[in-house]
């Protein structure tokens, strides 16, 4: 299988800010690839370099075998772009807009086909100014699809959607993938990446902090568990509680949280310690780490 995208050592700075700082990844043809990360992680900068919208400072980039910085028209004929924020002339109707842009592509889809894909049939002759935000987002999507792209970039395609609209977009993206289109999407919804992607990279602060399939990320997650409890005011020496633990303890306001790969042993030690001293631990629970816990930890938002 060849790769639709190969990126290695990509960097981009805005002044002193290193927005993308040594990012490498590959996207095999036909895959759905998610770049997951919080606002400011560098997702848009990365995809806009791949789209040819921004210039990189350094690094190797190959998209559909071309360098997006120099690929020009032939390159843009083969990709679809849905920007995070892009304007559209609001005075035109949906049909006029699709008609205008479709002429530019070699492999254009019919307006009827695109409009059905994005479910805007009834709005075809409505001016874009009269569409809701979600409907305008679907026009963006329609414009990304109108040239039957081999590869489509979706920068936060469902941000701000209600759950039902998000589900429908997911079905659409899965349909595209089933038809052989390579999809690169950015999102800050873990759920979305997990649901759609064959492969995920997690970005934070301009770097890739984790990567893998949703399953492998989940497996890494489930090797760790958390033990949580409240420690009442006691005279006992707490060093005896914490020192023998396998896992790592964190505490604040007497709420203790222990992240461990050996939950059984650690729990036995904790309860043994407490019972021996006649202490009752408030709200004692053991949970396996969810993918979400891992994600929040990775991106440093688990305060």
């Amino acid at each position: 299988m060849t790769n639709a995208i190969d990126v290695s050592g990509l960097t981009k700075a805005y002044g002193d800010l290193r927005a993308v700082n040594g990012v490498s990844f590959s996207v095999p043809e036909g895959q759905v690839f998610a770049i997951l990360g919080p606002n400011g992680a560098g997702k848009s900068t990365t995809v806009e370099i791949l789209e040819g919208h921004r210039e990189r400072d350094s690094g190797e980039v190959s998209v559909l075998g071309l360098d997006p910085a120099t690929g020009g028209r032939a390159f843009r004929d083969r990709i679809g772009i849905v920007l995070q924020e892009a304007g559209v002339d609001k005075e035109l109707t949906v049909r006029e807009t699709l008609d205008l842009y479709s002429t530019a592509y070699t492999h254009r889809r019919s307006i009827a086909e695109v409009i059905e894909l994005v479910e805007l049939d009834e709005k075809l002759d409505t001016r874009i100014s009269r569409l809701s935000g979600g409907q305008q987002r679907r026009v963006d999507l329609a414009l990304g699809l109108i040239g039957t792209p081999e590869l489509i970039f979706l920068d936060e395609p469902t941000t701000g959607f209600d759950p039902a609209a998000r589900r429908r977009s997911w079905e659409l993206i899965q349909g595209l993938a089933a038809g052989g289109t390579t999809v690169v999407l950015t999102t800050h919804y873990l759920e979305e990446a997990e649901h759609l992607a064959d492969n995920i990279i997690v970005m934070a602060g301009g770097k890739v902090v984790a990567e893998g399939t949703p399953e492998s990320l989940r497996q890494n997650a489930s090797t760790e568990s958390v033990i949580r409890f409240g420690l009442p005011q006691v005279d006992a020496r707490v060093e005896e509680l914490f020192e023998p633990l396998h896992g790592k303890a964190q505490g604040r306001d007497r709420r203790i949280e222990i992240t461990t790969t050996k939950p059984t042993a650690d729990l036995a030690h904790i309860t043994g310690w407490a019972v021996a001293r006649g202490i009752e631990l408030d709200g004692l629970i053991v949970e396996s780490l969810t993918l979400e816990d891992v994600y929040l930890r990775l991106v440093g938002e688990d305060a």
Partner: protein, 274 residues
């Protein structure tokens, strides 16, 4: 190439629709110059100059083409600078740049649709002159009018694209456009011809682009100029300005908004003058 012409045609059509569906812009471009014609005639009169050789000539014979040129310049220069920079701030140009539409086709559509709007504005102006104020056209000099009009509007449209490149955001564009076109209007014989202006003003008018456009067009309607009425010197100045505008546009034009430029001001907020 034939695909490009197809895109160009659709693009011109789309640009024109966008223009005519924005009532404020259409009013400023078409309506305001007409109001000025009515006012000029009301204020300064539409006296017939009995001329031994040419018969009756009205002053509107000079106001109408002058204001027609002014309408054409604002339909191209001012409108392009304002609308294109606004569409850049809104991210529309960025979207276009991500498609296979060639830049020259997109900008060609912008320029040609503005020329089309200018044509409508000028025809309406002359139409009012002919219908209400006794303005007359000489068929022999119509080719000279057409040459002046085509070269003049393409020149001002190109300058409008150049100004879009120079203006950082859409907030700056109307200010620069008005601050350049209005003073030029007063020294370019588009409103009322000046009596005895200081020579440096005459000189400035002659080398700036508006007066060559206005004079070459107005003279082609003046009974005092000889047939066929071409003014190649003035046309050459317009072509030189077109080249300057093209060069500045080529060097400065950006498709991306500057980071943080305010978006969504889709309704025109131009100053009270054209």
């Amino acid at each position: 190439m034939s695909r490009d012409l197809g895109i160009l045609w659709r693009s011109i059509r789309a640009e024109s629709r966008i223009f005519w569906r924005s009532p404020v812009g259409a009013f400023f471009t078409l309506g305001l110059p007409l109001i000025m014609l009515v006012l000029f005639v009301a204020l300064f009169g539409n006296d017939s100059i009995g001329h031994p050789e040419y018969g009756d000539i009205t002053t509107a014979q000079f106001y109408a083409p002058g204001l027609g040129v002014f309408a054409a310049a604002s339909a191209t220069y001012t409108n392009i600078a304002i609308n294109l920079s606004m569409r850049r701030d809104d991210g529309i140009l960025k979207r276009v740049r991500g498609t296979p539409i060639p830049p020259w086709v997109f900008l060609g559509g912008v320029i040609l649709s503005a020329v089309w709007v200018a044509l409508v504005a000028t025809i309406v102006m002359l139409g009012l002159g002919v219908a209400a104020y006794g303005v007359e056209l000489e068929l022999d000099k119509v080719p000279a009018m057409i040459v002046s009009f085509v070269v003049g509007t393409i020149c001002f449209a190109t300058l409008g694209v150049a100004l879009t490149g120079v203006a950082k955001t859409a907030a700056a564009a109307p200010a620069i456009a008005n601050a350049t076109i209005l003073p030029m209007g007063f020294i370019s014989d588009v409103f009322i011809p000046l009596d005895d202006p200081p020579s440096w003003l005459t000189w400035a008018g002659n080398v700036l682009p508006l007066k060559p456009f206005a004079v070459s067009f107005t003279d082609a309607m003046s009974p005092f100029t000889a047939t066929p009425g071409f003014q190649w010197g003035r046309i050459a100045i317009l072509l030189a300005w077109t080249a300057v505008g093209g060069f500045v546009a080529w060097k400065t034009f950006r498709w991306e908004p500057v980071p943080g430029a305010p978006k969504g001001r889709r309704r025109r907020n131009r100053s009270a003058v054209v």
